[in-house]
């Protein structure tokens, strides 16, 4: 009995000494990790801790350590703010629109591209449709401004020449058009790039399935709906779950660039732009942090719920 415990103790000591020796032996590897640990600690972890200022009356002069704690005051202020429901509505509507239209669009594009047998045509369309992903939102907003403007916008020129309208429409200054413009520019920018994974999934489908279906006289449409779509369903589900987790990220850059005008605030203001405006521009740090934290809590809840549902149904469904 005592023999064993002595052995364990010796081994423990050996292990501790072994750890120091092993650490010393791999000092180069550890040195490769340290800068990254520092950077991530400073720029990710300290801000996470700093979120606590949502429960303070943070003042720049007192700093984080000396500012008084005020509990949920800023959250209550946010929930009672006159613009709260407008912001919530915009966040939810814009997120939902982007999900409902932006999520299936690349799948449909991938399905259509898969039917094209002329490789040259397919490659041209793919190359063109991927490109906007690599442009900044600033450039995309510039394109939108140029195409939609009243004085020389191509869309107004087109509609006028088709006699659909008599007067140029100021698309970018009209609240009714804002959501449409926002969703269209998003689809325009990302449809091609997001279709890549679905195209890859389609490429992995066993061709004999199609041959058998063709023998049985299935039309192309039938083949799409009974072979292609079910085959790529696992990929679709994974990306849908990720999209649900991202639901509240109604977008930031696009809204900031296209909808920053006060005329559009009624339809363009979402939690993120509100945090930016109140926090950075008006310097109400605690209040803005509370609003941001509120969003983060809902987002994490959504992500957890989506993950849970995925784990419960993911394997059994397919």
């Amino acid at each position: 009995m005592s023999q064993i415990s002595t052995d364990t103790r010796v081994m423990e000591r050996k292990k501790t000494r072994g750890l120091a020796v092993r650490l010393w032996k791999q000092w180069e590897l550890q040195l490769m990790v340290i800068p990254a640990l520092l950077i991530v600690f400073i720029f990710s972890y300290i801000p996470m801790y700093g979120v606590l200022m949502a429960f303070q009356d943070y003042s720049i002069f007192d700093g984080f350590w000396a500012s008084p704690w005020v509990g949920f005051k800023h959250f209550e202020m946010f929930f009672n703010a006159p613009e709260f429901w407008t912001i919530m509505r915009n966040t939810l509507v814009i997120s939902a629109l982007k999900l409902i239209i932006g999520f299936p669009a690349p799948i449909i594009l991938a399905l259509m591209l898969n039917e094209v047998k002329q490789m040259a045509f397919k490659r041209v369309i793919q190359t063109i449709s991927y490109l906007p992903h690599f442009l900044s939102w600033v450039i995309v907003a510039g394109f939108a401004m140029s195409i939609l403007s009243t004085d020389n916008g191509s869309l107004n020129i087109l509609l006028l020449s088709l006699r659909v309208i008599d007067e140029p429409i100021g698309f970018l200054g009209t609240a009714e058009y804002f959501w449409t413009i926002l969703v269209s520019t998003n689809v325009w920018k990302e449809i091609g790039f997001n279709s890549i994974v679905y195209l890859a999934a389609i490429a992995g489908i066993n061709p004999s399935l199609y041959e058998a279906a063709e023998m049985d006289g299935a039309s192309r449409l039938k083949q799409i709906s009974f072979i292609t779509i079910p085959s790529i369903m696992p990929v679709i589900i994974i990306f849908f779950i990720l999209a649900i987790g991202n639901l509240l990220n109604a977008g930031f850059e696009d809204i900031l660039l296209l909808g920053s005008n006060p005329v559009l605030r009624e339809v363009s203001d979402v939690i993120d732009t509100y945090v930016y405006r109140i926090g950075i521009e008006n310097q109400r740090f605690s209040y803005a942090t509370a609003a941001g934290l509120f969003k983060a809590v809902i987002s994490v809840t959504l992500l957890t719920a989506a993950n849970y549902i995925a784990r419960r149904s993911g394997n059994s469904l397919w």
């Binding site: 750890l19 403007s149 020389n152 970018l172 449409l221």
Partner: protein, 298 residues
């Protein structure tokens, strides 16, 4: 010859039509901006410029290339892209190399430490206050340091490094290479494709990013080109939106707005987009692979 039903042919017709429409609507804004940038500014203001310039001119571009502020913006953007990409890819790859070693002490804890940041963040305001308290306001390094480590890229690098043959790395160690030497002399030279892909993504991020400078940079000499463009376009969009308000505001805005603002901003946009369009065809095959590697890890 395969017999195709009427239904199938109708469907193919619809698909081709939709794809051509998509291709056109994606291509047209580029083309139109290019055309406007080559058209004389006053003439553009008359309207009707669509597929071809009416009054050819290089003046817009010559003004862009003579404007010292815009040139400085390009200089800042290029510096930021080169230095930011170099450092970020190097430090992230180095981290990934260490993390790819099974015997790295603390590996599991490190991994959790990094992964957590992919799901949680302090949000805009606390990050802003931290960055500001570090004295990075109005500093070039605000472009480089906070984005030095990309956890996502680290995971892709690590997957690649694990695929390298063990024997190769072992024989390097036997020949007396330390980890640093192995990394720089053997691993990096063998990682061409993955370095190319991730450098491309990092470079495009740095080239396009405009939001950080908009909150951290007040000094005009440090503004990258995208942020300058944002300011120009924003005033344009604002005036466009304002013009809907009332005729008095409209008159005021149009007096303030130079008639060639649009031509100039289109020319600047074209120059700011050109590098991306120029490298795009060469790297297309890499990024498709890169995206797929990335999505496999989800």
């Amino acid at each position: 010859m395969k017999h195709r039903s009427l239904n199938d042919r109708l469907m193919m017709f619809i698909i081709y039509t939709l794809l051509i429409l998509l291709g056109f609507s994606t291509f047209y804004p580029f083309w139109n901006a290019l055309v406007v940038s080559f058209n004389e500014g006053m003439d553009t203001a008359l309207g009707g410029i669509t597929f071809w310039p009416r009054e050819w001119t290089f003046e817009n571009y010559s003004i862009v290339f003579q404007d010292s502020r815009i040139l400085n913006g390009f200089y800042i953007t290029i510096m930021r892209t080169v230095i930011g990409t170099l450092f970020s890819v190097l430090f992230t790859a180095m981290l990934a190399f260490a993390m790819s070693k099974q015997d790295l002490i603390g590996r599991k804890y490190y991994m959790v430490f990094f992964i957590v940041t992919m799901y949680f963040s302090g949000g805009l305001i606390p990050s802003f206050l931290v960055t500001r308290s570090l004295g990075l306001m109005d500093s070039f390094w605000v472009f480089i340091i906070p984005t030095l480590i990309s956890v996502w890229n680290m995971i892709i690098f690590r997957t690649f490094f694990r695929g390298l043959p063990d024997g190769l790395l072992e024989s390097a160690q036997i020949d007396g290479c330390g980890h640093f030497k192995t990394f720089f002399r053997i691993v990096l030279p063998l990682s061409g494709p993955v370095i190319a892909t991730l450098s491309l993504f990092t470079a495009i991020f740095h080239w396009n990013e405009w939001f950080l400078p908009s909150i951290y940079i007040n000094n005009e000499n440090l503004l990258p080109i995208q942020s300058m463009l944002q300011q120009i376009l924003n005033s344009n969009i604002m005036s466009e939106q304002m013009s809907q308000l009332d005729s008095a505001a409209q008159a005021r805005m149009s007096r303030m707005r130079s008639v060639t603002t649009k031509s100039l901003s289109m020319a600047t946009m074209m120059v700011a987009t050109l590098p991306i369009i120029a490298v795009y065809p060469f790297v297309q095959k890499y990024f498709v692979k890169g995206v797929l590697v990335g999505s496999l890890k989800e």
